[in-house]
């Protein structure tokens, strides 16, 4: 089933045109690619998030694959039940995917996610991270980066972004990866790797949101690339407890990323420098972890 990026550009449509997604929606790009990689052989659990609404209203749905809409906190638990049900019914070849935003993953959904990870349930959990509760109108989440404006942090969020991928990796699951819609080949490789494995697999994909981050709607992919290139969103994977950075871009100054997004427009130069130091520190920590060999068991 080895696919190329060309397979993500062409082929049958699973997200049918005419959805409710905003123009320039990063999440929908990620969803499109994941479905093409899965060829629709899947069942999705979708908790409350933007993707719940992107489907459009009953009696139609924009999604040409099985979707179970679920309560906000419960994505990973519901997916666990589905995977076990399919297993005992002898129905193979179907990937159960929990597809959640950062709210349903970092915050309200974290308990169910942690439980499913600890039990090593045979599911693929994909978090599309647009760094706030976007569906309810841009309120901060544990994934919101420091300094970012949201409707509940109008002066900019104070706290650092939760290091969710490492939190999941610390459960000792078979596979954890970060990805970005700015780097489709890297993303596809990680999806394929996840699909070749069994047990609990987690991919966290950077999905910029022009509506919530306040940047021009044609720049979504550019912002997704810049996030990686400025070390805001490092691309790495943790396979059987061993961390590997999968892309080492030539680092670009954080200012290039910041100035594109009006959610950061109130930041002073000093604050931007502080932010840059914080992200650089996280990068350096990753490099140290990479040298340690197997760290999560």
């Amino acid at each position: 089933m080895a696919k190329t990026v060309m397979d993500l550009a062409k082929g049958p449509k699973y997200v049918l045109p005419g959805t409710a997604a905003c123009p320039g929606c990063g999440a929908q790009i990620a969803l499109k690619w994941v479905l093409k990689a899965l060829e629709g052989r899947t069942i999705f659990v979708i908790p409350a998030c933007c993707t719940s609404v992107i489907q459009g209203p009953y009696p139609k749905s924009a999604f040409k694959f099985p979707v179970f809409n679920m309560a906000f906190a419960a994505a990973a638990a519901t997916a666990s039940g589905m995977a076990r049900g399919l297993k005992i019914l002898g129905r193979t070849g179907i990937t159960v995917v929990a597809w959640a935003g950062d709210g349903g993953t970092y915050d309200i959904g974290i308990q169910a996610l942690s439980g499913a990870a600890e039990r090593n349930e045979d599911i693929l959990y994909i978090c599309y991270d647009n760094e706030a509760y976007m569906n309810t109108g841009i309120q901060r989440s544990g994934a919101t980066p420091p300094g970012a404006w949201t409707k509940t942090t109008p002066a900019g969020k104070a706290e650092m972004k939760k290091n969710m991928a490492l939190i999941v990796a610390a459960h000792g699951v078979p596979y954890v990866a970060t990805a970005s819609i700015g780097y489709p080949a890297d993303f596809l490789k990680k999806i394929e790797k996840a699909l070749s494995m069994r047990g609990f697999r987690y991919i966290q994909v950077f999905a910029p949101c022009p509506t919530g981050w306040n940047f021009p709607v044609d720049k979504t992919v550019e912002v997704a690339k810049l996030g990686v290139d400025t070390y805001v969103w490092p691309l790495f994977e943790v396979e059987r407890g061993r961390l590997r950075i999968t892309m080492r871009p030539k680092r670009r100054p954080l200012k290039e990323y910041i100035k594109l997004q009006k959610r950061f427009r109130h930041l002073t130069d000093e604050q931007i420098e502080e932010l840059e130091r914080a992200f650089l520190a996280r990068w350096e920590a990753l490099e140290k972890l990479e040298k340690q060999g197997t760290i999560f068991v």
């Binding site: 123009p23 320039g24 009696p59 139609k60 022009p210």
Partner: protein
């Protein structure tokens, strides 16, 4: 009165919120002289409305294209221009 069980089950369909092409303020127009058929536009298109046309070039379904302009921004040969929508 409904006569049978009514379940919250929906069926797949295009145009779930109508002809989203009506949302556009700008439309992407592909210059086939500059286009090298790399399919980057189709890859990044968030609405999956860019397909291979009968002439082998990318063709855009304007009924649903939301005019976001990501295709134009990402096109490596700058073959796509965002042109103001003119109606009437």
């Amino acid at each position: 009165m409904p006569t049978e069980i009514v379940v919250p089950v929906s069926l797949p369909s295009k145009a779930v919120v109508g002809r989203t092409g009506l949302w556009r303020v700008f439309r992407p127009v592909i210059d086939k002289d500059k286009c090298v058929k790399c399919w980057t536009c189709a890859l990044y298109c968030m609405e999956d409305v860019i397909d291979e046309g009968p002439d082998g070039y990318p063709t855009i379904d304007y009924e649903f294209c939301k005019g976001c302009g990501i295709c134009a921004n990402e096109c490596p040969t700058k073959a796509i221009e965002m042109v103001p929508e003119v109606r009437g």
